[in-house]
């Protein structure tokens, strides 16, 4: 590898922007509220999730937006608050509101989102970049809230379309002990109904053995039963699912929260210019970009895109623009992204990855929709009670 970077650093005076008639300055203050969630003890605890998942994505998007902002006299500032304590986060969100911040990126579980919505006056724009909870998009409908992280239903539908395309329609479903696992399993069952999959058998993992030592004894008999094409695992915190691949009773693939996974973002995404985003992120944070980072990145970039196009930075103008037909976001997923007017969910393709390769991207060809095939993923307009655009 030939490296000239150092040589270049030495030449004096990178030529900076010259002054053309500068538009009036616009300052955009964005809060990032991140809750660090204690996942409890898990069996496969060898690779912990980074504590700054989400925050690093927001930070990078602020940098990207300031690079663009220089040409338009727009300046973006991130106010970050991260804690394990939901009460503390609510207090600091209120404090930021008091200082004039109206734009909030929230990376917290669903119950904290509800507390924050109650705590913050309605003129604040809240973007959920942390919770995949389907109720938020269908029945709970926190007013004026947008979502950049994919819902569980979107992930399950993306996986189901691919399984049907492969004609692997008989699924053994195994879920874990948490409410989140149950919710993922419910999304899988809904996807089976929508796309023609069949859950031939459901099992519940409740053993408390240490699988690092006994996976080969425990799991093969556990996954025997009716004939199936794949094992679908619902284990969001990574308790036992990591040990399922190669330990199934029948020689079949494992998909779901482990094995082949539907994700909003992953290191293995490199097409559509993603390699550039990945390398910017890695240079900044010294680790790979994950789904939470991407959701926060997309949230900040959406706000910045609205400010760039409209020249306005108040939350009402931004929200109007984000929910209008004009809004489109180039976000390294091969097509433009925009928000659903009912649930406020960012429409987006979902990657299907195994730990070292991108396998596919849904929606799969042939799953049609009258408006956009992106709406074959997740809850469609008639299935949701939310109307965030009204």
């Amino acid at each position: 590898m030939l490296k000239y970077a150092r040589h270049l650093m030495l030449i004096s005076g990178i030529i900076s922007l010259s002054a053309t008639a500068a538009p009036p300055p616009v300052n955009v203050d964005i809060a990032y509220i991140g809750q660090i969630v204690d996942q409890g003890p898990v069996l496969s605890n060898l690779i912990p999730e980074p504590d700054d998942a989400g925050a690093q994505g927001a930070t990078l998007a602020i940098k990207d937006s300031n690079t663009t902002g220089r040409f338009l006299n727009q300046h973006y500032t991130l106010h970050e608050s991260s804690s394990e304590d939901a009460k503390l986060l609510t207090e600091s969100a209120k404090e930021l509101y008091g200082k004039g911040v109206r734009l909030f990126i929230l990376n917290t579980p669903a119950d904290t989102l509800a507390q924050l919505r109650d705590a913050l006056p309605m003129d604040s724009l809240l973007i959920n970049a942390g919770s995949r909870d389907d109720a938020l998009r269908t029945t709970q409908c926190l007013p004026g809230m947008l979502h950049t992280i994919p819902s569980r239903a979107m992930l399950a539908d993306a996986l189901a379309q691919w399984l049907i395309m492969r004609r692997w329609s008989r699924w053994m479903l195994i879920d874990g002990n948490t409410a989140d696992d149950e919710a993922f399993a419910a999304a899988i069952k809904r996807a089976a109904k929508r796309f023609g999959g069949k859950v031939v058998e459901e099992k519940h993992w409740s053993f408390d053995t240490d699988l690092r030592r006994t996976a080969q004894q425990e799991l093969p008999p556990f996954t025997m039963g009716k004939e199936y094409d794949v094992v679908v695992v619902a284990d969001e915190r990574g308790d036992f699912g990591e040990f399922l691949p190669y330990n199934t009773g029948l020689p079949r693939p494992v998909v779901g929260t482990q094995g082949l996974m539907p994700v909003g973002w992953h290191k293995m995404i490199e097409a559509w210019g993603a390699a550039q985003l990945q390398s910017r992120f890695e240079a900044q944070s010294g680790r790979w970009m994950n789904e939470k980072d991407y959701a926060s990145w997309a949230a900040v970039r959406s706000i910045a895109e609205a400010v760039t196009r409209t020249g306005k930075a108040d939350s009402a103008s931004i929200k109007d623009y984000l929910l209008s037909d004009q809004f489109e976001l180039a976000a390294f997923k091969g097509r433009k992204l925009n928000f659903r007017g009912w649930s406020g969910q960012l429409r987006q393709p979902i990657a299907l990855v195994q730990p070292r390769a991108l396998v596919s991207q849904s929606p799969q060809a042939g799953f049609l929709h009258p408006k956009t095939e992106l709406d074959t993923l997740g809850y469609d307009e008639p299935e949701s009670r939310c109307r965030v655009d009204r």
Binding site: L2, Y4, L8, S16, S18, F71, G273, S279, A283, A330
Partner: protein, 321 residues
């Protein structure tokens, strides 16, 4: 980097000197090679090892050398076309992707995708003359035929940046649709055509006023509009047509360059990326990244007549007599 024995190189030099055939060079992004395509026989006659991830390529004005953006080697390489040997590595800044040569053939304007910079390199002294701060992910690069403007596109900032070549200062920005990829001046220098990949449009800008004249949209039956993603743009020398490569839509749009009306969509290989006219202007070659081939379009008949297999992920293409 070039492992070819000297004898073979000399032999090639003799051969290419003797035949004088028109030739196309195609950069293969995932093979770290250039394919050499004979334009009389439509066959690949040589494959040249170059730096890592070769993308943008450009011919020197005297047509003796080829400049190659070797993106992952962080350099612009200079290939001697007589010997097919790399004779120099120019300082390029990090991750060079596209570049443009000034009409005098001396100054090379290079997009540094990872650094939000445009680097200007003197191809005679091999020195960096200037670096200009631009938006996020600089990509497309063009210099106006009169040499006054260098225009750079930035993919995440969504702007055309107008650089005054006499001062190397950025003097104006034009906001365009999402992910601007490629810019090309009309032969008379009066208009600038810019493609926006994710926006799905081509913007035509009046160079004197830097005002947008037209936003061209595309519609292909059976292909979702989101998958129509314009990348390469080529304008015919006679000012009649504009050709736009539509990426994963696998089509090239033919546009009336005067009325901006889309006349035809020509089916080519998969993920069509960049294009080049043959020296006689009779044919237009397209690189098709996913199918790993080059499609040949007959410019008079507006028909695709042939496809030729090259390396993995062909990206750029230039032709020379």
């Amino acid at each position: 980097m070039n492992k070819k024995p000297l004898v073979a190189a000399l032999l090639l030099a003799t051969l290419s000197g003797a035949t004088q055939a028109a030739t196309a060079y195609i950069s293969n992004e995932k093979d770290n090679t250039l394919s050499v395509l004979d334009l009389d026989t439509w066959t690949v006659t040589d494959t040249i090892d170059v730096g890592e991830r070769p993308r943008g390529i450009e011919l020197s004005k005297d047509k003796t050398k080829l400049y190659i953006c070797a993106s992952d080697s962080d350099t612009v390489q200079v290939l001697d076309l007589a010997t097919h040997k790399i004779i120099a590595n120019l300082p390029s800044g990090e991750d060079p992707e596209q570049f443009a040569l000034a009409p005098d053939g001396r100054m090379l304007y290079i997009s540094n995708e990872d650094d939000a910079l445009v680097t200007v390199v003197d191809t005679e002294t091999h020195e960096v003359v200037a670096q200009i701060e631009v938006g996020v992910e600089p990509e497309g690069m063009a210099v106006s035929p009169d040499g006054r403007w260098a225009v750079n596109t930035t993919e995440t900032t969504n702007m055309l940046h107008w650089i005054d070549t006499s001062t190397y200062e950025l003097v104006e920005n034009t906001l365009v649709d999402q992910r601007p990829r490629y810019v090309q001046f009309t032969p008379d220098g009066k208009q600038l055509w810019a493609s926006s990949e994710i926006g799905g449009t081509v913007t035509v800008v009046d160079v004197d006023s830097r005002a947008v004249i037209k936003n061209i949209t595309f519609e292909i039956k059976g292909i979702h509009p989101d998958k129509v993603q314009p990348v390469g743009v080529k304008l015919s020398a006679d000012g009649r047509y504009a050709f736009v490569a539509l990426g994963p839509a696998n089509h090239v749009a033919v546009i009336d360059a005067k009325t901006f009306e889309v006349l035809e969509y020509l089916l080519v290989g998969r993920r069509v990326w960049q294009m080049a006219f043959t020296p006689d202007n009779k044919y237009l070659l397209t690189t098709n990244g996913v199918s790993g081939d080059v499609s040949v379009i007959d410019v008079d008949d507006l028909k695709v007549i042939k496809s030729v297999k090259v390396g993995r992920y062909p990206w750029g293409v230039v032709t020379v007599n």
